[in-house]
């Protein structure tokens, strides 16, 4: 039995989400093969070989994978599963926009169900996943020969280093030619990634404007070494880019400390942060639902409280 983990990477290094996915794979038992599909991905493959618990690194390196298109990456995964003659029983990828984009194609072409965003593993065929914005947890059992799974990264620790897996080069599938990347506009930030941050300072509609968001929250985030997040309302209003959104349909986070500032606490927002270790809410409305999940609540005007907090920490 082999668990195939799809690495998320940028050719130079592995994304942190890959390490959480390897931990989920280890819970299943069996060998772990880490598949790196990339273009000039030698460095990522080397990093993959060092991940603890990985028995084998498979590399498919081709210009066809430069865009990381779902069509080409999925085709490569299918080729690997096909070539394994039944020994691959599970295919896992992180439930990031990368994994969510690619993996359902793999499942459909294998004619199997995908099990999305698992948070626990009961056995090789039984998994727990949140539904209804995390208001319920479903335990589901798969009857398919190959289990295709995306993993909620906050539910599994990151795998450590110390492995020394063999690296095997594969022949790459042909370019489907269906899709072409015209450009990327990536948010540049010196701050930690939302998914990996120990502390997150998150702002909502209460910030009032993009200028306020930055002027008020950045000094606090700088002091705490925190990542910045936001509610949907703050993103929709254009205060911050889309990749700041925390919630059911944005990013799922579980830091040591989550500070919700001017956020009311809609179920869709709570879905993305309620597994944080400690939650602090600052809101001027004592009835705001965010206080029902907050460990520490402060009813105050954020424009006074946040600068005070930045000065005090």
């Amino acid at each position: 039995m082999t668990v195939l983990v799809i690495a998320e990477h940028d050719n130079a290094s592995l994304k942190g989400a890959t390490l959480n996915t390897v931990t989920a794979a280890a819970r299943l038992g069996g060998d772990i093969a880490l598949l790196v599909v990339g273009a000039g991905a030698g460095a990522a493959a080397e990093a993959a070989a060092k991940v603890a618990g990985v028995s084998k690194v498979l590399v498919a390196d081709s210009a066809a994978f430069a865009d990381q298109s779902a069509e080409n990456v999925a085709a490569q995964i299918l080729a690997v599963v096909g070539a394994s003659a039944g020994s691959i029983t599970h295919v896992l990828a992180p439930a990031t926009t990368f994994g969510k984009n690619v993996l359902p194609r793999v499942a459909a072409l294998l004619d199997v169900a995908q099990i999305s965003e698992i948070v626990a593993i009961e056995s090789a065929d039984t998994f727990v996943r949140p539904i209804y914005a995390g208001n319920a947890l479903a335990t589901v059992k798969s009857a398919d020969a190959v289990k295709v799974i995306t993993v909620r990264t906050t539910a599994f620790e990151a795998a450590g280093e110390g492995g020394s897996a063999a690296v095997e080069q594969l022949s790459a599938v042909a370019d489907s030619g269906l899709s072409k990347l015209l450009g990327r506009e990536l948010t540049k930030s010196a701050r930690p990634e939302l998914g990996a941050a120990k502390i997150i300072v998150s702002g909502g509609r209460g910030m009032g404007s993009g200028e306020n968001y930055h002027a008020v929250l950045e000094p606090l985030a700088d002091k705490l070494g925190a990542a910045l997040g936001a509610s949907r309302a703050a993103v929709d209003a254009g205060y911050v880019p889309n990749d700041y959104q925390v919630g059911q349909t944005g990013k799922i986070v579980a830091p040591q400390l989550y500070l919700a500032v001017g956020i009311s606490g809609a179920i869709q927002h709570l879905a993305g942060m309620k597994d944080s270790k400690v939650i602090v809410a600052i809101n001027k409305d004592p009835e705001a639902p965010i206080f029902q999940v907050a460990d520490y609540g402060l009813v105050a005007d954020l424009f006074e409280a946040v600068p005070q907090l930045a000065a005090a920490v």
Partner: protein, 249 residues
């Protein structure tokens, strides 16, 4: 150019669902049902493409129980031209829905299928990608901007690191993210008009699709509750608690 838009009937996003005490699922009896919000965005986008003269027809499709007719009428009130209901009382999982949609695409030959990126009940985020794979078409998921012209679409996608823009050949599947548009409110005259638009009903068997579920739900439980916190009087007390009690600073 024809656009197909799948729409799902789900528990309204404002409802906080309750888990049934016997652990078999969530209680959806007497709960307000609505169109999945991402599908509303999909219908709106398709209708805008029609209004812009890019599309000639917008066909809404729903798979599920008879009451999904209401969801189709809502789509038609926004501006879809006709509806197709694939009627079944069986539990439908994303792979089955993708297969039903494939059968309809084979028949209807749309150039673009616009799906919501995820349904807010099962939160699966699969159907559009699965349909695209089964058709052998390109996909552009999590779209925040769509432009369609002569045989191709240019789509800006919301990804974890920011945005990326793809050019894909048509036919193709696009899935919507929140920023793509703000759906209009259906006006009363349009709601009335929608009642007269054609609505065809077919069964999965008519389409030759086996919809048997591949996943069995063994149980559904409530997530662990967070224990109630405390209110602090001021910033000084908050800092003190975070340092000495929670020990996170």
């Amino acid at each position: 150019m024809k656009i197909l838009v799948p729409v799902k009937r789900v528990v309204d996003y404002n409802v906080k669902v309750r888990v049934k005490s016997d652990g078999t699922g969530v209680d959806i009896a007497n709960v307000k049902m609505s169109m999945n919000p991402f599908d509303e965005i999909a219908v709106e986008e398709a209708v805008r493409l029609k209004e812009a003269g890019v599309a000639t027809e917008v066909v809404a499709v729903s798979c599920g129980v008879g009451a999904c007719q209401e969801t189709l009428r809502t789509a038609m009130a926004i501006g879809a031209d006709r509806g197709i209901l694939v009627e079944t009382d069986a539990e439908l999982q994303p792979l089955a829905v993708a297969k039903l949609l494939k059968a309809l695409c084979d028949k209807e030959q749309p150039q673009v299928v616009i799906c919501g990126k995820q349904a807010i009940d099962d939160d699966a985020n699969q159907t559009g990608q699965m349909l695209s794979a089964l058709m052998g078409w390109p996909q552009a998921t999590f779209a925040s901007k769509v432009a369609v012209s002569a045989g191709k679409a240019t789509v800006t996608r919301e990804i974890d690191g920011g945005l990326e823009t793809l050019e894909i050949a048509l036919p193709a599947v696009v899935t919507t993210d929140l920023r793509l548009n703000e759906p209009r409110y259906a006006t009363l005259p349009n709601i009335m008009k929608a009642k007269k638009k054609p609505l065809e009903t077919v069964k999965p068997a008519d389409l030759g699709v086996d919809v048997a579920p591949r996943l069995t739900t063994l149980k559904v439980v409530e997530p662990p509750k967070r224990s109630a916190g405390v209110m602090v009087a001021d910033v000084a007390q908050l800092v003190e608690k975070l340092k000495n009690e929670a020990k996170v600073l």
